[in-house]
Symmetry: C2
Amino acid sequence: MLGEMQDWPLLTWRLIDHAAQAHGDREIVTATVEGAIHRYTWSDARLRSKQLAAALVALGVEVGDRVGTLAWNTHRHLESWYGIAGMGGVAHTVNPRLFADQIVYIINHAEDRVLLFDISFAKLVAEIAPRLTTVRHFVAMTEPAHMPADAGISNLLCYESLLAAQGTDFQWVMQDERAPAGLCYTSGTTGNPKGVLYSHRANVLHTFGACMADALGLASTSAVLPVVPMYHANAWGIPYAAAAVGAKLVMGGPHFDPGTLHKLIIDEGVTFTAAVPTVWLGMLQFLEKTGQDMGALKTVVIGGSAAPRMMIEAFQNKYGVRVAHAWGMTEMSPLGSVGTPSAHSLQLPAEKQLDLQCKQGRGLFGIDMKITDDAGNSLPRDGESAGHLKVRGPWIVGRYFKGDGGDILDAEGYFDTGDVATIDQWGYIQITDRAKDVIKSGGEWISSIELENAAVAHPEVAEAAVIGVHHPKWDERPLLIVVRKPGASVDKDDILSFLAPRVAKWWLPDDVVFVEGLPHTATGKISKLELRHQFRDYKLPTAA
Amino acid sequence: MLGEMQDWPLLTWRLIDHAAQAHGDREIVTATVEGAIHRYTWSDARLRSKQLAAALVALGVEVGDRVGTLAWNTHRHLESWYGIAGMGGVAHTVNPRLFADQIVYIINHAEDRVLLFDISFAKLVAEIAPRLTTVRHFVAMTEPAHMPADAGISNLLCYESLLAAQGTDFQWVMQDERAPAGLCYTSGTTGNPKGVLYSHRANVLHTFGACMADALGLASTSAVLPVVPMYHANAWGIPYAAAAVGAKLVMGGPHFDPGTLHKLIIDEGVTFTAAVPTVWLGMLQFLEKTGQDMGALKTVVIGGSAAPRMMIEAFQNKYGVRVAHAWGMTEMSPLGSVGTPSAHSLQLPAEKQLDLQCKQGRGLFGIDMKITDDAGNSLPRDGESAGHLKVRGPWIVGRYFKGDGGDILDAEGYFDTGDVATIDQWGYIQITDRAKDVIKSGGEWISSIELENAAVAHPEVAEAAVIGVHHPKWDERPLLIVVRKPGASVDKDDILSFLAPRVAKWWLPDDVVFVEGLPHTATGKISKLELRHQFRDYKLPTAA
């Protein structure tokens, strides 16, 4: 026997239909690639998404086909999400900051039929086009006047011309809610990138989760600026969440500089924004320098990596902006946890509340979490035990696209995030390291991140990284690699004396080496992989 | 091709599992039927729900079986929702305020196998037990010390004894998310009551919708008092929503008097509460009389019928409590719309904002709405055109239990709510009448509710009702039926003069009659059905 409620598949086009009908006059504002500020409404966005859907059908795109995008956060990129999925296709966001070889691999692996790209990427597309084996049409996301001249891309189409040829009465495709709507590849540090094929159901359920008051808490009165790019883990789901509640959506296009972002925040009355910590470091320096405030901004969500405590303090105490840490990943659509206050936290002194805010928040309903040891045994939620953080839920990957990587769930159906974390009794998780970066010393785990955080607190240290190096007795011991600030002369003994009162004695690095610079990945993180390669034969002084 | 996300059926036991794991120490507080305040946590509630599930299995309840409840809002009633659905059964909430014959009909129609009841209802159960053809076990929801003596119910079991015999390690039943979890009958004014068979999926999706910031907006820091009973339209989904976010849940048991409710609000730091207008009228009088305030209360949600403007003003201006109108019905799980502010409303002067608050709010994502004329043609969203309000969505009934009433959806899959409403350009709906109460005069519609509201504003009118009476030329014309306040002598001319500047000229009632009292339904509403019966042969003076 089944219940007797209506069958109403959870499809992403319902989000923009709702926005257009219940919040049709709310604006979408874009600082465009071409330069001007573009401004229209959710009603307009829906009609143009329908025009795009019709145009894709006219180009021969079929249900289930992938359509790639190389694009910033713009109104056209937004239309592509709803238009592609609305005609039954799969919106494949490609990260333009990856190396060209990776981009070629990803587009060919996804078998994209059409590639939509911002004119910023015309040169890149011209360079890789000959190696793209499945793309039949290249579409520059601009109007005729801004089409790149002599782009060197054969058969180049113009987005606005394609739309102008279509009416606005396209009928969204009604299909199984488990049908795919989106695709995003993880830029794995080893092996080829792997694709996460999002279903309509996962995207809509993630939207519901993200809109909860204790998650992003968006409302129709919100004005939302997702600085996090749409090509990076769905811009944390904000382009869907904003539609679900009819929020005003403000997008920075190719602009990530504090000046442009700040002007958008002030001019558009932004109340909510989200980005990685580096963006906010730049913003704090900008505010300091210009003496400006944050206008109507109420909430900053910070994810991608941990926000420094001073950043949280500065936003809250100097600018009256609440900071919420969030945690997630491409494989999680991406939200897993958000750092909103618990009832018990409101009773704590300010310093203790800040301690909690430095954690990565609490899991949303829809995310089952556990931490385990290497053997897969669950560890207690005591805020002390660190283990592999594993997750289960309707917006978590079940397997990678085309089965790459094989079976990725444990016997209970959990996906291993690759993060190491603690969970405290109130459900707050704290990411202590990436599993592959943890230093396993005599069977115990040392967090490379905590050591790095302790080291960069030294006033003469510009950047620091910790890796595990082979040790005959302890298996691995930490090696600290430091970049000095210009003109600084700090040495090994200074560093170790500085660390001694700050970390457990057995965590102290066995050696400290000084380098001119550290290797970074395409997304700006320190490349531990490269460091481990550089120091693969390093002999620790304690290993004699 | 399908997406590659995890299969994670939306089942209601996941809500209490989440509450226990992420918010295990948050409290559930009940003013019990037996008299004392009972206090425990979501963790405790989960374990006891598992004990109940095991006890039901031991009693022979099978997957798909219905288990009835005749109970107030208590921790045990909460356990029954999660325990029954968690073992694969269907929690059938029976409204104890219905007439005994209706209760007998409902329980037999549902084929309840077990009936759980609060000791307040022991006499009622003893009276109807001989006529219940499917109930095998009667369970008094109390501890041995409070078991009713000589209840006259054969085979009477004690809830606490049943639980004490079971462990807490019951494995929740994993099943299709479309499986039934709950059942509630509508007390239709004509014909037999009809059942709405809620699926797990509908309940969980409704929970997501209800938790949105622009709906109930509950958070883990909330302390929630649902005054609306669990036997009435799922207590507006609050027992599920509170679990999803880990809110403190405060329940009044059999107590609906302002004194007890006020004490709970103050003692337990209640921040959010929900009830029908009559409860809040009583509360306002209590506050006026005692000079007390509302403590930590921030939000009052009012539904069931329209809240008078003065009530909204009093809560907001005198007590600093935000009032949100909500609208829904049993067939909608029940939430359809909630009256949270729109961006445009924040720009309006206070009086205009209040006008909007008197409307029934805006539809949630998940609810498709339309208004149509009698022929089913959609009407514009102009705030003026009143039409049949029809809804579609994953928590809206698809058909009544056992197919009663036949096909209830239109060609586009919409359910006719029986309400007449306008929708304005910002998505705010305003219920202007019940379709069967609208007076159809010369092809135009006159709202009986608006006429009644205008009439009761007269200082000498205690109660008023308007019905349509046959008219040879206009088909129907309004008849106003008035109960004078004690000692008042207001007459027909006074009333009509009072109404003249307040309603359209052609809306003015063709006659006014004065009566000693009006007939009411079991749930306290004026019985228009009975009035139409009483006045079925009434000759209007204008009908000559």
